[in-house]
Amino acid sequence: MHIPDAFIPFPQAIVYWVIALIFIALALRWARRSMGEERVPLVAVLAAGIFAIQALNIPIPWGTSGHMVGAALAAIVLGSPYAGVFVLTLVLLVQGFIFGDGGITVMGANIINMGVVGGFVGFYGYQAVSRLIGNMYVAAFVAGWASLFISAVLCAVELAIAGTFPLDLGLLFMGGYHAIIGVIEGGITAIALYLITSARPDILERPQGVTG
């Protein structure tokens, strides 16, 4: 889902960069003064951890392998959508400049798709479903799934606006594919959350009145 350079015209890419920068600035503000505690080092180190997490091969039922995005997981555990934004921004910078995965001019769009959507959909999806049904693992599953699916839909829309991929086919292929892959992202988000809760229950920001 990493859009490469050239698939979004320069003026549009600039618009996405401006939007992304606003979110990055907000994420930085969050990291520097949330709950009276400075979290910049913590989140920077965690970004490297998410990079390692993304390196793990995950089997996809029909044969190939995929990998996690992890923005929703970071946002859920750290209790803020901005955790997802911060972590994915760092990850995408490294992927873009070192690995060539995802373009430079379009990095704003990629940060919006994976970081902002992953963080916000992941976090608020988790909060909402948790309150609704009171089970944090189901909530994490739904949030993980939705974060990936909505990212893919947004990606398709951006490419359609750019005129480099038709909307209907984009929604069909990218939306459809990620609706299925999202099940794995959601599943792993829930399982990982279970492990994190058993190992370090204290680090998890739990929504009120929610039990495991």
């Binding site: 279970y194 492990l195 058993s198 190992a199 370090r200």
Partner: protein, 277 residues
């Protein structure tokens, strides 16, 4: 046919760094082997060849006379169990029990056998009380035992331990040494371990390999290796205090027999003084 044999094993790391060169290593059944060497001497790299985690750049690795292939790799990993230096690299499950079951489950054993293996491993290590615990909350010594139990549950013939005493306090070391020593005696298992904690070697090994910069620079019994002060110094290792002290005394003209363990040294020195009466 040897249990483990490497023939002129060489390994080049990331395409450029020579990590092992011309290593000839042999392990027999029910033996206790120490591989000593400074950090970066190639001990861990050698160990990862014993169960096919790494593949030789040149030379051969034979396990019970067979080279490691795609077909027998599961069988080999089952019979050569590798315990990592840092238990955190090895323990991922939410409970101790699940972690120990991980290996047997991957072997495709049925549920009953898995449960039996887990019970046996827990009791062998004396950690039945940790069964339901979250591994993350255990002490370093407890985690080490869980890691070993997780490997023993696969019922290997060889237990390979990478720096087993790293990070343990003296009591932790002592009880680990005691446990490891039971394996060859009671179960005929071969134990291979690496350490730069040379003091331990006489207590826990019959034969010793000394590694330096990817090569085996010496091999022999504990007594044979620990007289070679210059070799140990050259490979940036200490001579254990006891033999070092006795040798200095002999150099000073004290007529005392050589000894390697604490008990032997005490006896040798008392005898020497008695003889002077």
């Amino acid at each position: 046919m040897h249990l483990i044999e490497t023939r002129n094993l060489s390994y080049v790391y990331r395409g450029s760094v020579a990590a092992l060169s011309n290593v000839n290593f042999i392990a027999e059944r029910a033996s206790r082997i120490a591989v000593i060497g400074a950090n970066g001497a190639g001990k861990s790299t050698l160990f990862k060849h014993f169960n096919g985690i790494l593949k030789p750049t040149s030379g051969e690795v034979l396990i019970r006379g067979e080279a490691v292939t795609r077909e027998n790799i599961r069988e080999i990993r089952k019979s050569v169990g590798l315990v990592f230096q840092n238990p955190d690299d090895q323990i991922f499950s939410p409970t101790v029990e699940q972690d120990i079951a991980f290996g047997p489950m991957n072997l495709g054993l049925d549920e009953e056998t898995v449960a039996h293996r887990v019970d046996a491993a827990l009791s062998l290590l004396g950690i039945e009380h940790l069964r339901e615990r979250v591994p993350h909350h255990l002490s370093g010594g407890e985690k080490k035992r869980v890691a070993i139990a997780g490997v023993l549950a696969m019922e290997p013939q060889v237990l390979v331990l990478d720096e087993p005493t790293a990070g343990l306090d003296p009591q932790g070391v002592a009880s680990l040494v005691e446990f490891v020593n039971t394996l060859p005696q009671k179960y005929g298992m071969t134990v291979i371990f690496s350490t730069h904690h040379v003091e331990l070697v006489p207590e826990i090994a019959d034969s010793v390999y000394v590694m330096d910069q990817g090569e085996i620079v010496a091999q022999g019994s504990v007594a044979e290796i620990f007289v070679k002060d210059d070799l140990l110094a050259r490979t940036r290792l200490d001579v254990p205090v006891i033999p070092k002290l006795l040798r200095s005394l002999r150099d000073d003209g004290v007529d005392v027999e050589m000894a390697y363990t604490f008990g032997d040294a005490r006896r040798a020195l008392t005898d020497a003084y008695e003889r002077r009466r």
